[in-house]
Symmetry: C2
Subunit: 195 residues, 2 copies
């Protein structure tokens, strides 16, 4: 198949319980697809690798060093400070080891999502355009869109408390590549299988 | 002061409850220092920014794309799949919201450290030299050394179960820059203040 390529195996290890062996261009659509399905399916390692290998393809990062950093930060806040604490594997661990009360799990997830959203709202207020860091899709958007979507759909977070993130969410919902990547568009995937 | 520079403010936001305003070269010593003090003090955003801004300084990443990816992956496993789940803020949250039993917190932290170490041991076995990805210090080492150190000193994890990580730990302990960065060398910092 054209546009098919294997990732290095160590980027698709069983750590993620998935086996990513092929991807399609444009890469950002693949990454979005994976992120909407499960925020732990793909991580910054893969987006960094793609950016290194195909710097002149559709870039995941802008050229300007300052703007690159503005993209790193939201991607890292989502992938290090929100997602690990609200992913299904973590909530299962709470259920099995600590408390079987579903309200405990939900409150835990909401706590970390809101804490992260406060930081993201503050961080992006000086840089956002139509989307996170201007008017073009970059790395920050790939991590933000699925996280905001998950907050609303899976964790019943009132995102209207975060006006900028709400505005970004509306913009993402109007971009065809983002619409196509959403979990709800994938008939073979259930919310319960996402982690 | 020579070699003093401000980071962009959004990289040193109150999200981290710290105010990183200056750093010293060699950068990797600063990053190590921060990581040993508190794994959430600094994150991949800052190391990525430094690498973008000073690519010809002491590089945090090798030139080879495959070797770069071998460095991304351990850094991401530590910063996204271990550290967020064992940092003091998370353990405090367990204590306040779920269980005040100290054994619950310890077992929780140990679970995520060991799960991550299994993945790291498997990942690095084909690439390690004297240290994580060969014989030179790169990004992976900066994230691995403090995490292994914390596992032993703070969480009483039996690292001998992970022969490669044990070997790396011995190597790190012999590198002066790593020795100097360790928490124990800093008279003004207590373990309780690390997060």
């Amino acid at each position: 198949m054209e546009n098919q390529e294997s990732l290095p195996t160590f980027l698709s290890s069983s750590w993620y319980n998935y086996n990513i062996t092929i991807f399609y261009i444009p890469f950002y659509q693949l990454i979005l697809h994976c992120l909407y399905h499960s925020l732990s399916f793909i991580n910054l390692s893969i987006s960094q690798y793609l950016e290194d290998k195909y710097p002149h393809h559709y870039p995941l990062l802008p050229q300007d060093i300052h703007k690159r950093a503005i993209n790193y930060q939201p991607a890292n806040i989502v992938s290090s400070s929100i997602q690990p604490l609200q992913k299904i594997a973590t909530l299962k661990c709470i259920e099995e080891k600590i408390s079987s009360d579903p309200d405990v799990k939900l409150a835990w997830a909401q706590h970390y999502i809101k804490k992260g959203f406060v930081a993201l709202e503050r961080l992006l207020k000086d840089y956002a355009g139509r989307i996170a860091t201007g008017d073009e899709v970059y790395l920050a958007d790939l991590f933000l869109a699925p996280q905001i979507h998950a907050a609303i759909k899976r964790f019943n977070v009132d995102v209207t408390r975060f006006p900028l993130l709400s505005k970004l969410n509306e913009a993402y919902n109007e971009i065809p590549a983002f619409q196509d990547a959403m979990l709800e568009k994938q008939p073979d995937t259930t919310l319960a299988s996402a982690s």
